[in-house]
């Protein structure tokens, strides 16, 4: 049994933490939060590229470090902990994973080295309005290699160079790779988490290359989502653990009625509940990491479980961290809301937990067929 990070992976993780402690304190995250004109931290993005993190799981032949997905999970956890204001998930978990999964040799050769170098920023354009997008509601269309339609919200759509777009062509849904240098209009959107911006993209004849087969759009997007879900789960675990640390630190220094509030069972049990949820999330995330790294047939189930557990843990920890802080936790100045916001962003960006629960049970029904 070898169900944990290895010593090398732990070293990478601790180096990543040191780097982010030095280069991504929340004072820096707040520069993006407080400045509407600043969609992300471009300087940090450059530094992260220099660290090689963008290409951690990209093979060396395509300009990456060729480490593997467990290493990428370790980095993801630290980025989540730091609420890093960069388009890492959009670019690495979605675009790079999609290209590695379904791209042609030419597409891989064209995009992966640029992703690893930080020259490409990705985004996923699937949603078109309230509620999950489905075959019956999908409007965006491709005809003669040109994409038309409207997508919102597209996280990082305002800064991305390339998009993964769900659209139909001749009645069949496909997943398309779109270069955003022409044929697209971008309108920034106000978001729950301004440290992760989003936009409305209107396509008008943008050149689109299909990834995978015609009619495979939803299936392929699900595969990409499975991979992203595991990586996002590590970001969520990192954020949830940080919330527990913040709540604990505050509870140990705040006095009420002559005692530190950490000595009251109402607070102790709240923090114990956080710990339990965080550990359940971590254990599910580890299983997801194993399935992702080995391309196991269990990946869809493992990814669903990882996403559900991590979404629940981060939501609970982020809201109860504010509650533990009391009034001061509701102020703009205290960092608790950065995590509350990020927990919402991460829970929604790859589809809401409700949707994943349905996916999970459908798969369990098939797996446990009578």
């Amino acid at each position: 049994m070898n169900f944990d990070f290895s010593d090398d992976q732990k070293f990478l993780k601790s180096e990543a933490r040191k780097f982010l402690d030095a280069n991504c304190p929340t004072t820096r995250v707040r520069k993006v939060l407080d400045d509407d004109a600043k969609p992300y931290d471009a300087e940090l993005w450059k530094q992260v590229a220099e660290q090689g993190w963008l290409g951690a799981a990209i093979p060396e032949e395509h300009g990456g470090l060729g480490l593997g997905h467990i290493e990428l999970c370790a980095i993801a956890e630290e980025l989540g902990r730091a609420v890093a204001p960069i388009p890492f998930a959009s670019t690495v978990y979605f675009l790079a994973e999609a290209v590695m999964l379904a791209g042609s040799d030419a597409q891989k050769a064209a995009l992966l080295p640029k992703i690893a170098a930080g020259e490409v920023i990705g985004c996923v354009a699937a949603s078109e309005g309230p509620g999950p997008v489905s075959a019956s509601t999908l409007q965006a269309g491709v005809s003669g290699g040109k994409l038309s339609g409207t997508k919102l919200p597209v996280t990082d759509g305002d800064i991305a160079t390339h998009a993964l777009v769900l659209a139909k062509e001749g009645g069949k849904a496909g997943l398309y790779l779109v270069d955003l240098s022409s044929g697209v209009t971008r309108e920034p959107l106000k978001t729950l988490d301004p440290t992760r911006d989003a936009a409305k993209l209107t396509f008008d004849g943008a050149p689109a290359e299909r990834l995978g087969g015609a009619g495979e759009g939803f299936a392929l997007l699900e595969q990409v989502m499975d991979r992203a879900a595991v990586l996002l789960a590590f970001e969520q675990c990192g954020g949830a653990d940080r919330c527990l640390e913040m709540a604990k630190a505050y509870a140990l220094e705040r006095y009420a009625f002559g005692r530190v509030i950490a000595s009251y069972q109402a607070i102790k049990h709240k923090l114990a509940d956080m710990y339990v949820k965080n550990e359940l999330a971590r254990s599910n995330a580890y299983y997801g990491a194993w399935a992702l790294n080995t391309s196991a047939p269990e990946l869809p189930v493992a990814a669903s479980a990882a996403r559900i557990a991590a979404s629940e843990a981060f939501w609970f920890a982020s809201k109860e961290n504010i509650q533990t802080h009391g009034g001061i936790g509701f102020t703009w100045e205290v960092d608790a809301h950065l995590y509350y916001r990020r927990s919402r962003q991460l829970s929604l960006v790859a589809g809401a937990p409700r949707v994943w629960k349905e996916r999970l049970v459908s798969q369990l029904e098939r797996r446990n067929a009578a």
Binding site: S6, K248, R259, A262, Y286
Partner: protein
């Protein structure tokens, strides 16, 4: 990251498998479900394991064990659980009581007890909880006073409760009050006692679930030798902490009806509109949550096993098991019973799904949430020992035991 054995572990597993294939029972023995129904089979299996060096694998050679590693014990348990083995009534004795005796008793006593306990010939129980103190073990009122005849013997009077296996135990370790004038933690003394002493009376407790797995144990003028004392006079609290530290590795799997049984049942039961209940979105969401919790616990155990395999001390994450699983058992069983609508009222194994497994869990779950540490105590333990938060304010810490407020 993988689930593979190291070469040494694989070799040990192969050896265990070979032995089990040759020796383990292939057919389940009759069991009354309360741990005592197949005692002869349990004892025979324990003796076989002891002879082959598979009972208490981590015990050192001087205790009669093979001096194995925790991971070897885990491997054996994993493989053993694939066979219909009889219930294990020895675990409390071998896991908690006998190690306490081994730590504190004289050589003669150790020699006398360890072999028979290991071979399953003698069974031990742990006499800690009392009617006036369950979570608060240090509030024990059972008295031990020195006999007035100058023999050095002690006379024990009082009552213990929730004693697992007392009805078939040969010996027990008992926490007693020896100095009521001292604060409660400082006036306790531990003894081992012979459960066959005429002054010891065991009465089964009729549980709300209908079964009787636990007992009340009454001590009336039970005379014990001073040589039966474990540790110094009035040092019983420290001794009991040694007992509790020896609790077995919490790497066992789940038991009872879980998400998979719920899924199976929900396929065959009509839902609100006549379609199978499994189509009900509210039930599907709950099913997803239970699956995720169950997997989370399973892989938390895998993290613990990984630490053992690497020769490390497992992290505190193993402490979350019961607080999650007991509550889940109650929630899942209740949802399953409610899924039956009015029919859920029927608690008859002949008529209820899965031979009444959900109904059984529903009625057993309240006990599981209390036994071995209540939900509340377990959360205190996580908060204090894992997260390092302060202990509760103790109003009884520096008060003489006899002056403590007691309610009733």
């Amino acid at each position: 990251m993988d689930f593979n054995d190291t070469p040494e572990e694989a070799a040990y597993r192969a050896q265990v498998r070979e032995w089990l294939e040759a020796n383990a029972p292939k057919k389940a023995s009759h069991d009354d479900g309360e741990g005592g129904g197949s005692m002869a089979a349990s004892k025979a299996w324990q003796a076989k394991k002891a002879a082959a060096g598979y009972a208490q694998i981590t015990w050192p050679k001087e205790w009669g064990g093979p001096g194995g590693t925790p991971i070897q014990q885990v491997i054996f348990n994993q493989e053993e659980s694939k066979y219909p083995i009889p219930p294990n009534p020895f675990q409390i004795g071998l896991g908690m009581c006998v190690p306490t005796v081994m730590t504190f008793a004289d050589e003669e006593t150790k020699k006398r007890f360890v072999g028979p306990a290991l071979r399953g010939e003698e069974i031990w129980c742990q006499l800690f909880s009392e009617p006036s103190g369950g979570s608060d073990v240090a509030a024990a009122r059972t008295r031990a006073v020195q006999a007035p005849d100058g023999s050095g013997d002690w006379i024990i009077d009082g009552q213990k409760v929730w004693t697992t296996g007392a009805q078939f135990s040969d010996f027990g370790i008992v926490v007693t009050r020896t100095d009521p004038d001292a604060p409660k933690h400082k006036g306790l003394t531990m003894f081992w006692v012979d459960m066959k002493d005429p002054g010891v009376e065991v009465r089964p407790i009729h549980q709300m679930s209908g079964g009787s797995g636990f007992n009340e144990v009454f001590f009336t003028g039970v005379r014990v030798k001073d040589s039966q004392r474990l540790g110094a006079v009035n040092d019983g609290w420290r001794v009991s902490l040694v007992t509790l530290m020896n609790e077995r590795l919490a790497v066992g799997g789940p038991s009872g009806a879980g998400w998979a049984q719920f899924l199976e049942a929900a396929r065959g039961i009509a839902g609100i509109d006549g379609a199978p209940a499994i189509k009900d979105q509210a039930l599907r969401e709950k099913l997803a949550d239970w699956y995720v919790q169950t997997e989370g616990l399973k892989h938390t155990r895998n993290r613990t096993i990984t630490a053992l395999s690497r020769g490390q001390t497992p992290g505190p994450e193993s402490s979350i098991g019961k607080v999650v699983s007991a509550l889940q058992m109650q929630d899942l069983a209740n949802t399953a019973v409610e899924m039956l609508d009015q029919y859920g009222i029927i608690n008859d194994p002949e008529l209820a799904p899965l031979s009444g497994a959900f109904h059984g869990s529903l009625m057993y779950a309240p006990g599981l949430r209390i036994a071995g540490g209540t939900d509340e105590i377990l959360k205190n333990i996580i908060a204090e020992r894992v997260l390092g938060l302060p202990g509760d304010i103790r109003v009884d810490k520096d008060v003489a035991f006899k002056d403590m407020p007691t309610g009733r």
